[in-house]
Amino acid sequence: MSEEFEPNIVAFLCNWCSYAGADLAGTSRMHYLPNIKIIRVMCSGRVNPLFLVNALQQGADGVLISGCHPGDCHYLEGNYFARRRFMLMRKLLEHVGVDPGRVNMSWVSASEGAKFKEVIDETVAMAKEAGPMDQFRRRQLNW
């Protein structure tokens, strides 16, 4: 059997909505793809877009940032700032030649376990299509 490429996705989930949503997906025994590695942050507004660049350097094939729906941020405005930032960062990375399917964002609330599963499926599918991230990965071989 040939080895199919399994992408490594780093997911930044906001504590109050998306992380709880992921938790709900888990407790409801919904099977979602194991490719994601979750980092819990208090708010999507905490995520520095440079984390994405660093993640891609360290071997992530795709990144997901997920927060509360606009208007429902636990800290009132964090996700609005995050939305602006990631719209721009995605455009910038696209201009450098990074497949836009690697940079993903979603609004998942605490009750949307099913949506979380779909978001993960979609993210992994797009990263699979983009292929292994080889462009500016830190290479041990270079040493």
């Binding site: 877009p49 440079l50 660049v53 660093n54 350097q57 606009p70 208007g71 405005e77 609005y80 700032f81 939305r83 602006r84 930032r85 719209m87 721009l88 960062m89 995605r90 455009k91 910038l92 990375l93 696209e94 201009h95 450098v96 030649g97 990074v98 497949d99 836009p100 993903n104 964002m105 979603s106 609004w107 779909e118 978001v119 979609e122 462009q135 500016f136 990965r137 830190r138 290479r139 270079n142």
Partner: protein, 327 residues
């Protein structure tokens, strides 16, 4: 057209004031097609000032470059003002620095210089060769007249002028305390055609281009140091605890550095193009910055460096902001 005598007289008036510490402008270079920035401390030095198409540098960068040394005990800090001569594009840097509250409006005196374009020294060197003598350039209609090694040469302005000038929308300073010459007509529009052309390529083509460009980078940080908007006391690329970007000059770190810088200029880059001019290995840095400038304009209807009353782009939001790709 700027009358140099008028410029020097106005500069003299400003430097003679008690509350002015220094004046930043341009002086004749020691060779070639570019001027040298100069910082004057005394009114007797104003004869060094010039203004002609060799004045490419952005004096606004020097306002924030000045280090704030701790003051010895018993001494008062010198709070006198800094005066600066700026062209249209340079003045946008001052506007944006004021928007970000880098300093008080009362701390600077801005002498505005309406500009009709500056020469790109690479184009000039290709046309007339390198020279060990400073070149004087004047404008006559749509031609430049240059004195190269004692000989008079002519060239059409459009062939020698810097690329940024061909799409200059702000030849007149946007903020000033006084103008040293009459305002000029706006002479171009910017359709961002170059951005569209680059963006139309496939991701593979784009990456191939950038891989070649970023491999040249020697991480001298000239682009960052000359940028009027890069004035952080501790820059993220030189931060050691923790270290974001390694100092090794491999493709991974070089790419990360350029993405970081372009990102930190999102909604702040005022397109003086100095970063691209100073790069010793000719990396087309502005290709990245202009993409964000265009997208910021389209998505958020925002233009940096134009309105002193504006808020910084990423410090505010609109509940109706676009979210085209968000799941």
């Amino acid at each position: 057209m700027v009358d140099e005598k008028n410029l020097r007289d106005k500069a003299k008036e400003v430097l003679e004031r008690d509350d002015v510490r220094r004046l930043i402008g341009w002086a004749r270079g020691t060779y070639g097609y570019e001027s040298a920035p100069v910082v004057l401390k005394d009114a007797s030095e104003v004869d060094k000032l010039i203004f002609d198409p060799t004045c490419v540098q952005n004096p606004a960068s020097f306002i924030t470059l000045e280090e704030k040394k701790p003051v010895p005990r018993g001494q008062e800090p010198d709070t006198r003002k800094v005066a600066v001569l700026v062209k249209g594009c340079d003045s946008r840097a001052i506007v944006q620095q004021l928007v970000e509250k880098a300093y008080d409006r009362e701390g600077v005196i801005v002498l505005g210089v309406p500009c009709t374009g500056v020469v790109d020294r690479r184009k000039a060197a290709k046309m007339f060769g390198d020279t060990s003598e400073p070149v004087e350039i004047s404008e006559e209609g749509d031609k430049y007249v240059l004195t190269v090694n004692g000989e008079k040469k002519e060239a059409p302005k459009a062939e020698l002028v810097a690329d940024k000038c061909l799409r200059c929308r702000y030849p007149n300073p946007l903020v000033y305390d006084m103008l040293v010459a009459d305002e000029v007509e706006k002479w171009a529009d910017d359709e961002f055609a170059d951005v569209d052309e680059f963006a139309g390529q496939t991701p593979e083509e784009k990456w191939k281009f950038w891989e070649e460009q970023f491999s040249k980078c020697i991480r001298c940080y000239s682009c960052r140091n000359v940028c009027p908007m890069c004035y952080c006391v501790e820059c993220v690329v030189t931060k050691q605890k923790p270290q974001w970007t390694r100092r090794a000059t491999d493709i991974s770190e070089n790419t990360a550095y350029h993405i970081q810088r372009a990102w930190h200029l999102a909604g702040r880059c005022i397109e003086c193009m100095e970063c691209q001019r100073v790069c010793p290995v000719d990396i087309p840095i502005m290709t990245l910055n202009r993409k964000l400038t265009r997208d910021v304009k389209e998505m958020f209807e925002y233009e940096p460096g134009v309105d002193v009353e504006a808020e910084p782009l990423l410090a505010c939001y609109n509940p109706q902001d676009p979210e085209e790709y968000i799941m």
